[in-house]
């Protein structure tokens, strides 16, 4: 899929996230929005998958180890056709397969996650199985930057390098914020690149909202032999919704109806603009234009 189309699709993914979280009345918009572009690239460009055959042999697999950002993955999967978007709107409701965190009951979800670090460990096991079976499928695992404070993450980092899992790609969503505030205030995680490099990983650093860089990183990962690859994606928590951007407060709360209206207006306007505007300009400019178009000239202050 070309970059322009990916950009447009990412708006649909973000719109799905906002609607689902508003319906649910709880959830994690910040870290879902920061991953929306990468997850769009995975599901619409990078991964060998078939929404009509979610168990296809030889398929690539994506695991959101930062399970709280599952709405990003589920929204992308809904747009991709794994299940209807209206089904996804039952997120977090009693009896729904769309649990608060990703669950293997959902077609195309490979692992139930939520407890940080564990999805990464399971992804490593899947990569080991594919090596054993000479299965060409690649394993993509999304981690939060706060999540890498878990000791288990580094057990996986060690074993994935030891077993030369070049079919495993970790993506660290480096938005710099976690529930209690900035990573550096809660528990410093830097330098992330040197840590993974020290464990024997191939390290690629990108702007996680630049589709060209995202595609490039996946290519570099595919071309790297005998080492797992980590893509450290610099991202903006809450990306795409002006009043959520860079706000730790939007880690784990859903937008109310008024905020949802505002967020959807921004996203719809930016999407419409993206149809007519050639990309080249920064997202910031696009967002400003979208804000103007939707009649919101200032960013919201959020407590």
């Amino acid at each position: 899929m070309d970059i322009k189309e990916l950009k447009r699709t990412a708006f649909d993914v973000r719109i799905g996230i906002i609607k689902a979280l508003n319906n649910a009345g709880s959830g994690h918009p910040g870290g879902s929005l920061s991953m929306a572009d990468i997850v769009t690239a995975l599901y619409f460009d990078e991964m060998n998958i078939d929404p009509n055959d979610p168990k296809m042999k030889g398929r690539d697999k994506c695991i959101f180890s930062k399970g709280h950002a599952g709405p990003a993955q589920l929204s992308a999967m809904a747009v991709r056709g794994f299940f209807p978007m209206e089904d996804f709107m039952t997120l977090r409701k009693l009896g729904s397969i769309f649990q608060g965190h990703p669950n293997i009951m959902i077609p195309g979800i490979e692992m139930s996650t939520g407890s940080l670090g564990q999805g990464f460990s399971v992804a490593g096991g899947m990569a080991m199985a594919n090596k054993l079976d000479e299965d060409p499928g690649r394993i993509y695992c999304v981690l939060g930057d706060g999540e890498i404070q878990e000791g288990l993450v580094w057990e996986v980092a060690m074993s994935a390098a030891h077993y030369k899992l070049d079919n495993l790609v970790a993506i660290v969503d480096h938005n710099g914020l976690q529930i209690d505030g900035r990573n550096e205030d809660v528990m410093n995680v830097m330098p992330i690149d040197e840590k993974f490099a020290g464990f024997g990983w191939n390290v690629v650093k990108i702007n996680g909202h630049d589709f060209g860089e995202i595609q490039d990183a996946f290519t570099k990962a595919r071309n790297c032999k005998d080492k797992p690859t980590v893509i450290i994606a610099e991202t903006i928590k809450g990306k795409g919704v002006s009043f959520m951007e860079n706000q730790a407060g939007w880690h784990g709360k859903a937008p109310d109806d008024e905020q949802t209206k505002q967020a959807l207006a921004e996203l719809e306007a930016a999407k419409n603009l993206s149809v007519s505007v050639e990309y080249g300009e920064s997202d910031g400019e696009l967002l400003a234009a979208a804000n103007l178009a939707s009649g919101n000239e200032t960013n919201y202050e959020v407590n």
């Binding site: 293997i104 490979e110 692992m111 139930s112 939520g114 407890s115 670090g117 564990q118 990464f120 460990s121 399971v122 992804a123 490593g124 096991g125 899947m126 990569a127 080991m128 199985a129 594919n130 054993l132 079976d133 299965d135 000791g151 288990l152 057990e155 996986v156 060690m158 074993s159 030891h162 077993y163």
Partner: protein, 309 residues
């Protein structure tokens, strides 16, 4: 004299046999393959053996990934580190996805001996019982270990399989039928029922002999599958005898005793006594010395049985 074999030894040998029959059987260990006896499988099938180093959480996470990719996984370490340190991974990754992972843990209970309290696990059965869908198996001797391991490998879904360090008497014969989920009537009797698990089954059998000499007719039941538990054989014992003694090499809190009590109070309340580790840590010593000091011998079962009559 009865032959003595450690259940971990039988486990290691059985893995090799099963590895020949099941080419999707994968074995993992966390740097204890010499002690857990998985090294035998590793030698025979190096491609299907993964040493994960001293990292138990990651071992059970990776085991889940392998299982969700179609493998039968037996992942071994000491019981303390499997069920203790990695509990939450076993709960959330293995248990919640009903992954086909067999948590095969060795060195459970007081008979770890000289390593002392840090390694003597009395909580494992309690912890594993609480995970929905987890089958919990504690074989009593080498024959039972081999027969039950085959059945849990053939069964789809998560399982906790507990084996021990010390050589223990082999009292089952190859001809004996040992079926997952079904208690074994080792000795019939009408006065008191001794319901035991693991290496305490042999002690129960010895206790029954002592009781018989004193004119007390004890029934002995081997509950090797603690979950799902054989309710029928327990209810029958409660109805047909004057009381039940449970015997386990595990804390009396949350283990076999509690599992039997749950069945009894719901269906056929009767007097009960529990033999097992009291609410205390262990210490270093020889296995037999420790079983004596911490009240997990045939003599303790005899005393408990008499207290019910």
């Amino acid at each position: 004299m009865t032959e003595k074999i450690a259940t971990r030894q039988a486990y290691g040998e059985a893995l090799v046999e099963l590895g020949k029959e099941y080419d999707n059987l994968v074995v993992m260990d966390a740097d204890l393959s010499g002690s857990t006896k998985t090294a035998m499988f590793g030698k025979e099938f190096p491609d299907r053996f993964f040493n994960m180093g001293i990292a138990e959480q990651n071992m059970y996470g990776a085991a889940t990934g392998l299982a969700l990719s179609g493998k039968i996984v037996c992942a071994s370490t000491f019981s303390m580190f499997a069920t203790g340190r990695a509990f939450e991974v076993i709960r959330n990754s293995v248990g919640y996805t009903e992954a086909n992972v067999k948590v095969c843990a060795s060195h459970a209970g007081i008979t770890v001996g000289e390593d002392g309290a840090s390694h003597q696990t009395f909580e494992d059965i309690a912890l594993m019982r609480t995970i929905p869908g987890m089958t919990v198996v504690n074989p009593s001797d080498a024959v039972a270990t081999k027969k039950l391991l085959r059945q849990i490998v053939e069964m789809d879904g998560p399982c906790y399989f507990r084996v021990g360090r010390s050589a223990v008497p082999v009292f089952y014969s190859e001809a004996d039928e040992i079926v997952l989920g079904k208690g074994n009537l080792v000795r019939d009797g009408r006065d008191v029922a001794i319901i035991a698990t693991g290496i305490m089954v042999n002690e129960a059998f010895e206790a029954a002999k002592t009781l018989a000499a004193e004119g007390i007719d004890a029934r002995v039941i081997d509950i090797h599958t603690i979950k799902p538990i054989d309710e029928e054989i327990i209810i029958k014992a409660a109805q047909e005898t004057y009381g039940i003694v449970t015997a386990e090499e595990h804390s009396i809190i949350g283990g076999l005793g509690d599992a039997v009590a749950q069945v009894v109070v719901k269906n056929a309340p009767c007097k009960m006594a529990m033999v097992g580790q009291l609410d205390t840590f262990g210490e270093s010593g020889k296995p037999d010395e420790l079983r004596a000091k911490y009240h997990m011998t045939a003599a303790d079962i005899v005393a408990a049985a008499k207290s019910l009559l």
